[in-house]
Protein backbone atom coordinates (compact mmCIF):
# COMPACT_ATOMS: atom_id res chain seq x y z
CA UNK A 1 0.00 0.00 0.00
CA UNK A 2 2.87 2.32 -0.75
CA UNK A 3 0.62 4.95 -2.30
CA UNK A 4 -0.55 5.96 1.13
CA UNK A 5 3.06 6.68 1.99
CA UNK A 6 3.74 8.31 -1.33
CA UNK A 7 2.78 11.81 -0.28
CA UNK A 8 3.68 14.84 -2.34
CA UNK A 9 3.96 18.17 -0.61
CA UNK A 10 2.32 21.23 -2.09
CA UNK A 11 5.79 22.45 -3.05
CA UNK A 12 6.23 19.36 -5.19
CA UNK A 13 4.05 20.84 -7.85
CA UNK A 14 6.04 19.47 -10.74
CA UNK A 15 6.86 16.03 -12.07
CA UNK A 16 7.34 12.87 -10.10
CA UNK A 17 9.49 10.13 -11.64
CA UNK A 18 10.54 7.09 -9.71
CA UNK A 19 11.84 3.54 -9.97
CA UNK A 20 10.75 1.18 -7.21
CA UNK A 21 11.13 -2.43 -6.17
CA UNK A 22 7.94 -2.23 -4.15
CA UNK A 23 4.41 -2.98 -5.33
CA UNK A 24 2.72 -0.14 -7.14
CA UNK A 25 -0.97 0.54 -6.70
CA UNK A 26 -3.08 2.00 -9.42
CA UNK A 27 -3.76 5.31 -7.68
CA UNK A 28 -2.84 8.95 -7.50
CA UNK A 29 -2.45 10.27 -3.98
CA UNK A 30 -4.86 12.98 -2.91
CA UNK A 31 -1.91 15.32 -2.51
CA UNK A 32 -1.40 15.06 -6.28
CA UNK A 33 -5.03 15.65 -7.33
CA UNK A 34 -6.23 18.20 -4.79
CA UNK A 35 -4.31 21.26 -5.95
CA UNK A 36 -7.42 22.91 -7.40
CA UNK A 37 -5.54 24.02 -10.53
CA UNK A 38 -5.58 20.84 -12.56
CA UNK A 39 -9.08 19.55 -13.25
CA UNK A 40 -8.10 16.62 -15.48
CA UNK A 41 -5.90 13.70 -14.45
CA UNK A 42 -5.29 10.79 -16.80
CA UNK A 43 -3.58 7.70 -15.47
CA UNK A 44 -2.23 4.67 -17.25
CA UNK A 45 -1.68 1.56 -15.24
CA UNK A 46 0.09 -1.37 -16.93
CA UNK A 47 -0.28 -4.79 -15.37
CA UNK A 48 1.37 -8.10 -16.22
CA UNK A 49 -0.88 -10.46 -18.14
CA UNK A 50 -1.13 -14.15 -17.29
CA UNK A 51 -0.71 -15.11 -20.94
CA UNK A 52 1.41 -13.47 -23.63
CA UNK A 53 1.65 -14.66 -27.20
CA UNK A 54 0.10 -18.01 -26.34
CA UNK A 55 2.40 -18.75 -23.41
CA UNK A 56 1.78 -18.80 -19.66
CA UNK A 57 3.75 -16.03 -17.99
CA UNK A 58 5.42 -17.01 -14.73
CA UNK A 59 7.02 -13.65 -13.98
CA UNK A 60 8.82 -10.70 -15.53
CA UNK A 61 12.11 -9.32 -14.28
CA UNK A 62 12.57 -5.61 -14.90
CA UNK A 63 15.93 -3.89 -14.96
CA UNK A 64 16.49 -0.14 -15.18
CA UNK A 65 19.41 2.23 -15.61
CA UNK A 66 17.90 4.40 -12.93
CA UNK A 67 19.73 7.75 -13.18
CA UNK A 68 19.37 7.73 -16.96
CA UNK A 69 15.68 6.80 -16.65
CA UNK A 70 15.07 9.92 -14.59
CA UNK A 71 17.15 12.11 -16.92
CA UNK A 72 15.40 10.76 -20.01
CA UNK A 73 11.94 11.17 -18.45
CA UNK A 74 12.68 14.81 -17.58
CA UNK A 75 13.61 15.48 -21.21
CA UNK A 76 10.52 13.70 -22.48
CA UNK A 77 8.37 15.62 -19.99
CA UNK A 78 9.63 18.99 -21.23
CA UNK A 79 8.65 18.10 -24.77
CA UNK A 80 5.23 16.76 -23.76
CA UNK A 81 4.41 19.78 -21.60
CA UNK A 82 5.43 22.16 -24.37
CA UNK A 83 3.34 20.27 -26.90
CA UNK A 84 0.19 19.61 -24.86
CA UNK A 85 0.12 22.28 -22.15
CA UNK A 86 -0.28 19.86 -19.24
CA UNK A 87 1.23 20.96 -15.93
CA UNK A 88 2.51 17.79 -14.30
CA UNK A 89 3.61 14.32 -15.28
CA UNK A 90 4.19 11.26 -13.12
CA UNK A 91 5.79 7.92 -13.85
CA UNK A 92 6.55 5.12 -11.42
CA UNK A 93 8.09 1.91 -12.77
CA UNK A 94 8.78 -1.38 -11.04
CA UNK A 95 12.13 -3.12 -11.13
CA UNK A 96 12.89 -6.63 -10.01
CA UNK A 97 10.44 -9.48 -10.21
CA UNK A 98 6.84 -8.66 -11.10
CA UNK A 99 4.11 -11.32 -11.09
CA UNK A 100 1.04 -11.63 -13.34
CA UNK A 101 -1.70 -9.28 -12.14
CA UNK A 102 0.79 -6.87 -10.55
CA UNK A 103 1.31 -3.30 -11.71
CA UNK A 104 4.51 -2.77 -13.71
CA UNK A 105 4.07 0.91 -14.49
CA UNK A 106 1.93 3.85 -13.43
CA UNK A 107 1.94 6.98 -15.61
CA UNK A 108 -0.12 10.12 -15.15
CA UNK A 109 -0.64 13.53 -16.68
CA UNK A 110 -2.51 16.41 -15.03
CA UNK A 111 -3.71 19.55 -16.71
CA UNK A 112 -6.47 22.10 -16.75
CA UNK A 113 -8.63 20.12 -19.16
CA UNK A 114 -9.08 16.49 -20.00
CA UNK A 115 -8.21 16.26 -23.69
CA UNK A 116 -4.67 17.51 -23.12
CA UNK A 117 -4.23 15.13 -20.19
CA UNK A 118 -5.30 12.13 -22.30
CA UNK A 119 -2.88 13.13 -25.04
CA UNK A 120 0.01 13.75 -22.66
CA UNK A 121 -0.40 10.48 -20.76
CA UNK A 122 -0.47 8.45 -23.96
CA UNK A 123 2.60 10.30 -25.27
CA UNK A 124 4.41 9.60 -22.02
CA UNK A 125 3.73 5.86 -22.38
CA UNK A 126 4.79 5.88 -26.04
CA UNK A 127 8.03 7.67 -25.22
CA UNK A 128 8.68 5.39 -22.25
CA UNK A 129 8.56 2.42 -24.58
CA UNK A 130 10.66 4.14 -27.22
CA UNK A 131 13.66 5.44 -25.34
CA UNK A 132 13.66 5.04 -21.56
CA UNK A 133 16.36 2.54 -20.48
CA UNK A 134 14.26 -0.17 -18.85
CA UNK A 135 14.32 -3.80 -19.94
CA UNK A 136 12.16 -6.81 -19.28
CA UNK A 137 12.97 -10.48 -19.30
CA UNK A 138 9.93 -12.69 -19.46
CA UNK A 139 9.83 -16.13 -17.87
CA UNK A 140 7.26 -18.48 -19.37
CA UNK A 141 6.88 -22.25 -19.28
CA UNK A 142 9.25 -22.22 -22.31
CA UNK A 143 12.10 -20.43 -20.51
CA UNK A 144 13.45 -16.90 -20.22
CA UNK A 145 13.54 -14.29 -22.99
CA UNK A 146 14.55 -10.65 -23.12
CA UNK A 147 11.66 -8.81 -24.70
CA UNK A 148 12.60 -6.63 -27.64
CA UNK A 149 10.32 -4.07 -29.21
CA UNK A 150 8.29 -5.41 -32.10
CA UNK A 151 9.24 -3.44 -35.23
Amino acid sequence: MNWLLFHLSAEDDMNHFRITEEQIVCALPQSWTENGTDGGHVIFCGTIRTRNKGKDVIHIDFEAYEPMVIRELEKIASRIKAETGVNRLLLIHRTGRVLPGEVAVLAAASGTHRSEAFRACEMLMNELKRSVPIWKKERTSDGETWITPTP
Binding site: P67, M68, V105, W135, K136, W146, I147
Partner: protein
Protein backbone atom coordinates in the same frame (compact mmCIF):
# COMPACT_ATOMS: atom_id res chain seq x y z
CA UNK B 1 43.54 4.18 -21.09
CA UNK B 2 40.85 2.25 -19.23
CA UNK B 3 37.21 2.73 -20.12
CA UNK B 4 34.55 1.25 -17.86
CA UNK B 5 31.24 0.37 -19.47
CA UNK B 6 28.01 -0.69 -17.78
CA UNK B 7 26.15 -3.50 -19.49
CA UNK B 8 22.37 -3.78 -19.33
CA UNK B 9 19.72 -6.31 -20.28
CA UNK B 10 20.64 -8.76 -22.98
CA UNK B 11 24.10 -7.17 -23.31
CA UNK B 12 24.85 -7.98 -19.68
CA UNK B 13 23.81 -11.59 -20.21
CA UNK B 14 26.02 -11.83 -23.32
CA UNK B 15 29.03 -10.30 -21.57
CA UNK B 16 28.36 -12.31 -18.43
CA UNK B 17 29.07 -9.22 -16.33
CA UNK B 18 27.48 -5.90 -15.39
CA UNK B 19 30.69 -3.88 -15.84
CA UNK B 20 33.25 -4.25 -18.61
CA UNK B 21 36.70 -2.71 -18.60
CA UNK B 22 38.37 -1.98 -21.92
CA UNK B 23 41.95 -0.85 -22.32
CA UNK B 24 42.19 1.27 -25.44
CA UNK B 25 45.44 2.91 -26.54
CA UNK B 26 44.29 4.60 -29.74
CA UNK B 27 43.33 8.27 -29.37
CA UNK B 28 40.82 9.80 -29.67
CA UNK B 29 38.27 7.15 -28.70
CA UNK B 30 34.91 7.64 -30.36
CA UNK B 31 31.63 5.90 -29.57
CA UNK B 32 32.02 4.02 -32.84
CA UNK B 33 35.45 2.76 -31.82
CA UNK B 34 34.14 1.74 -28.40
CA UNK B 35 31.43 -0.33 -30.07
CA UNK B 36 34.02 -2.05 -32.26
CA UNK B 37 36.18 -2.83 -29.23
CA UNK B 38 33.20 -4.26 -27.36
CA UNK B 39 32.26 -6.42 -30.32
CA UNK B 40 35.84 -7.73 -30.54
CA UNK B 41 35.78 -8.66 -26.87
CA UNK B 42 32.22 -10.04 -26.94
CA UNK B 43 31.40 -11.33 -30.43
CA UNK B 44 27.99 -12.42 -29.09
CA UNK B 45 26.96 -8.73 -29.05
CA UNK B 46 26.39 -9.07 -32.80
CA UNK B 47 23.20 -10.96 -31.93
CA UNK B 48 21.83 -7.62 -30.69
CA UNK B 49 20.45 -6.20 -33.91
CA UNK B 50 21.12 -2.73 -32.63
CA UNK B 51 22.19 -0.99 -29.44
CA UNK B 52 23.07 2.48 -28.26
CA UNK B 53 25.88 3.83 -26.13
CA UNK B 54 24.93 6.22 -23.36
CA UNK B 55 27.55 8.75 -22.31
CA UNK B 56 26.92 10.50 -19.00
CA UNK B 57 23.26 9.42 -19.04
CA UNK B 58 22.58 10.64 -22.59
CA UNK B 59 22.30 8.77 -25.86
CA UNK B 60 25.48 9.43 -27.87
CA UNK B 61 26.27 9.72 -31.57
CA UNK B 62 28.88 7.41 -33.14
CA UNK B 63 31.19 10.36 -33.67
CA UNK B 64 31.23 11.51 -30.03
CA UNK B 65 34.70 11.47 -28.46
CA UNK B 66 35.02 9.76 -25.08
CA UNK B 67 37.26 10.24 -22.13
CA UNK B 68 37.89 7.77 -19.31
CA UNK B 69 35.92 9.80 -16.75
CA UNK B 70 32.72 9.42 -18.77
CA UNK B 71 29.98 7.20 -17.43
CA UNK B 72 29.45 4.74 -20.28
CA UNK B 73 26.70 2.18 -20.79
CA UNK B 74 25.52 -0.27 -23.42
CA UNK B 75 21.78 0.26 -23.99
CA UNK B 76 20.10 -2.62 -25.85
CA UNK B 77 16.63 -2.00 -27.30
CA UNK B 78 14.44 -0.92 -24.40
CA UNK B 79 11.25 -2.69 -23.35
CA UNK B 80 9.81 -0.89 -20.34
CA UNK B 81 6.13 -0.50 -19.57
Amino acid sequence: MIFRVRMFGMARDIAGMAWVELEISQMPVTVKFLKQSLLQKFPGLSSLLTYEIAVNLEYAQDSQVLNPQDELAVIPPVSGG
